[in-house]
C-alpha cells in the first residue's frame, strides 16, 4: 500500500480500513462477496474472527503508522504494549492508531 506522507490524523480511519482491506479482504473471495470496499469495514468487525486476520497484521499496521508519523517506538515496546492493551475490532484498531499518533510513545501508559 502507498503511504501518503501528508496524511493527517483525520485520515487515519481511512488508512486503517484500506490497510485491513488489502491484507484481509482483497485476496479472499468469500470476504470480497460480503465486503466490497474499505468503507464497508464497520467498526464492530473483529480482525481475527470476522476478517481472518492475525496479530502480526495488526503489529505491521501499527508499525506503518509509526513510520508514517515518525513516532519513535521500539518494535518490542509496541508489541509489549499491545499485549496489555489488545485491540480486536476495526474500531478499536483505529482508536489505537489515533492514540499512537496523538500521544506518541506515551499512548499506552
Amino acid at each position: 500500500m502507498e503511504i501518503n506522507e501528508e496524511m493527517t490524523i483525520s485520515k487515519i480511519p481511512g488508512f486503517v480500513r484500506s490497510y485491513i482491506y488489502e491484507d484481509c479482504v482483497e485476496d479472499d473471495p468469500e470476504l470480497c462477496e460480503q465486503i466490497e470496499s474499505p468503507n464497508d469495514l464497520s467498526n464492530d468487525l473483529n480482525l481475527i474472527e470476522d476478517l481472518d486476520g492475525d496479530s502480526l497484521m495488526m503489529l505491521s499496521l501499527l508499525r506503518e503508522i509509526t513510520k508514517t508519523f515518525q513516532i519513535e517506538v521500539d518494535l518490542d515496546e509496541l508489541g509489549r504494549k499491545l499485549i496489555h492493551h489488545p485491540a480486536n475490532t476495526v474500531g478499536e484498531i483505529i482508536e489505537m492508531a489515533e492514540l499512537l499518533v496523538t500521544k506518541g510513545p506515551e499512548a499506552f501508559s
Binding site: D27, D54, L59, L75, D76
Partner: protein
C-alpha cells in the same frame, strides 16, 4: 541421588553451508508461487517486520543455494559436531560409554543414536534417542548428567541436530492447502548441530560443571501451538500430502492477546514462572550469573522476558546469544550457544551459565545451571589430563 559431579569437558557445533542473509533465505528455500494469494501477500508484507522482531541476520541450511542439492543429513551433522567436541576435550571415541541424541521426531529406522555410534566407530556403548522439539536437548543433557552423577556411566556424548529447512522448502509443502501457520516458521528456523562431552572426571582445563537440570510440562490443559496434523498411526502418504498434514505449523494469530503465554495467577509469562520454579527447586545464587541464554528465536520476546527477570534479580545485560549470526536451529541451538561460550568467553571460577527454554508444541519447559571452571584465557585445548574425583 548425586554420587559425583558431571562435567562438560568439551563442546562442538556444526553449521551447514555458508551463512545465508535474511534477505536471501526465501529464495534458498524456494519461492511459494502456488500458495493462496492472501497467504503470499501476508508473507511478503510481513518479512521486514519479522526481521526486526527476530533479530536473526543469517541462517544456515543444508540446501546448496546454487544447486539445491542437500549437503548434509541429521546424522552427518551430528557426527561432525560430535567430532569437534571430542577433539576439543581430547576424548577418544572408545572412552564414550553413553550416547544421548536429541532431535524432533525422525522417521528412520534404526534410530539416530545408534547410527551416530556406528559413524563414530564405537563398537559398543549405551545409547538413547530423545525426541521433542526445543526441550529435547535439555532432556538429553539431564539424562546424561544424571547417569554420570549416579555412577552408571563415565563419559557421555550428548548431541543434537536438526534440519528444519527440508520441511520448509517450496516442494515440501502442498502449497495449495498451506496456511499462514504452516509457513510462519520459514522466518524462524534453520539447520545445525551441537554436541557436549560429559565426564565424571574433573578436567585440568576448562569445564562447565552441571549444577542442575530441570524439566516440566505445564500444557496438560493447553492447546498445542506448534504441531503437525499427522494422525498417531501410519497413514497413507498421499493423503498426508493432500491434506497438508505434514506441514509443521505454529499458531500465532492471537499471539498479542492470547492468555496462552501468561500465568493466570501471577500474570507473569510462563517462561518467567518456569525459571522461578527451577531456581526454587535448585537454589542458585544468581549474583554469580555470567551468561543467561533465553532459548527462543525472537529478540523481541527475549527482551520482553528480560524485563520481567528483574524480579529475580537477574539483569538483562547477562543475556547471551549468537542467534543473530548463526540462526536458530531448534533443539541443537542451546548446545551451539554453549559451544560459543565454552570456546570464546572467559569467566571466573564459580560463575554461572543459565539456560531456559519454552517449547510451545505443548508447553514443555526446561533449563539448566552450569558452573564455569578454569575459564581463563587460552586454556581451551588443555583438557588432556583428567583428575579422578571422589564422590562429593
Amino acid at each position: 541421588m548425586k554420587e559425583r559431579n558431571a562435567y562438560i569437558i568439551g563442546t562442538g557445533s556444526y553449521l551447514p553451508g555458508e551463512p545465508i542473509p535474511f534477505s536471501k533465505a526465501q529464495s534458498v528455500l524456494g519461492e511459494l508461487n502456488d500458495i493462496k494469494p492472501k497467504v503470499k501477500r501476508w508473507f511478503d508484507n510481513n518479512s521486514e517486520l519479522m526481521r526486526e522482531m527476530l533479530g536473526i541476520n543469517y541462517y544456515h541450511y543444508v540446501i546448496d543455494p546454487l544447486t539445491g542439492e542437500i549437503t548434509d543429513d541429521m546424522i552427518t551433522m551430528a557426527v561432525k559436531a560430535s567430532k569437534n567436541a571430542l577433539e576439543l576435550s581430547s576424548t577418544k571415541v572408545d572412552e564414550i560409554d553413553f550416547i544421548c541424541y536429541a532431535s524432533p521426531i525422525l522417521e528412520q529406522m534404526p534410530t539416530a543414536s545408534v547410527r551416530i555410534q556406528a559413524e563414530l566407530g564405537i563398537d559398543s556403548c549405551a545409547e538413547m534417542s530423545i525426541h521433542a522439539n526445543c526441550t529435547s536437548s535439555y532432556k538429553a543433557l539431564m539424562v546424561a548428567a544424571e547417569f554420570i552423577e549416579s555412577g552408571r556411566y563415565n563419559t557421555a556424548l550428548v548431541v543434537s541436530s536438526n534440519i528444519m529447512s527440508g520441511a520448509m522448502t517450496s516442494e515440501f509443502y502442498n502449497q495449495k492447502v498451506a496456511t499462514r501457520e504452516d509457513i510462519l516458521l520459514r522466518w524462524f528456523l534453520c539447520d545445525g548441530a551441537g554436541a557436549l562431552i560429559l565426564s565424571s572426571k574433573k578436567p585440568a582445563g576448562r569445564y562447565l560443571k552441571v549444577n542442575s537440570t530441570y524439566i516440566e510440562s505445564i500444557g496438560g490443559n493447553k492447546d498445542s501451538m506448534m504441531f503437525n496434523r499427522r494422525p498417531a498411526y501410519p497413514y497413507p502418504l498421499h493423503k498426508i500430502y493432500d491434506q497438508g498434514m505434514h506441514h509443521t505449523a505454529q499458531s500465532f494469530r492471537q499471539a498479542l492477546n492470547s492468555e496462552a503465554f501468561i500465568d493466570p495467577v501471577t500474570k507473569k509469562s510462563l517462561m518467567f514462572c518456569g525459571i522461578e520454579r527451577m531456581l526454587k527447586k535448585f537454589p542458585t545464587d544468581v549474583s554469580k550469573l555470567e551468561f543467561l541464554q533465553i532459548n527462543l528465536p525472537s529478540k523481541q520476546v527475549v527482551l520482553t522476558l528480560a524485563g520481567e527477570l528483574k524480579d529475580l534479580k537477574i539483569d538483562a545485560d547477562k543475556l547471551y546469544t549468537n542467534m543473530a549470526e548463526v540462526g536458530y536451529s531448534g533443539p541443537p541451538a542451546v548446545f551451539i550457544c554453549v559451544d560459543s561460550i565454552f570456546r570464546n568467553e572467559d569467566a571466573d571460577d564459580g560463575r554461572l551459565v543459565i539456560s531456559f527454554v519454552t517449547e510451545v508444541s505443548k508447553f514443555m519447559q526446561a533449563g539448566f545451571v552450569l558452573e564455569c571452571g578454569n575459564f581463563v584465557k587460552n586454556n581451551i585445548k588443555i583438557n588432556m589430563e583428567l583428575e579422578d574425583e571422589v564422590a562429593c
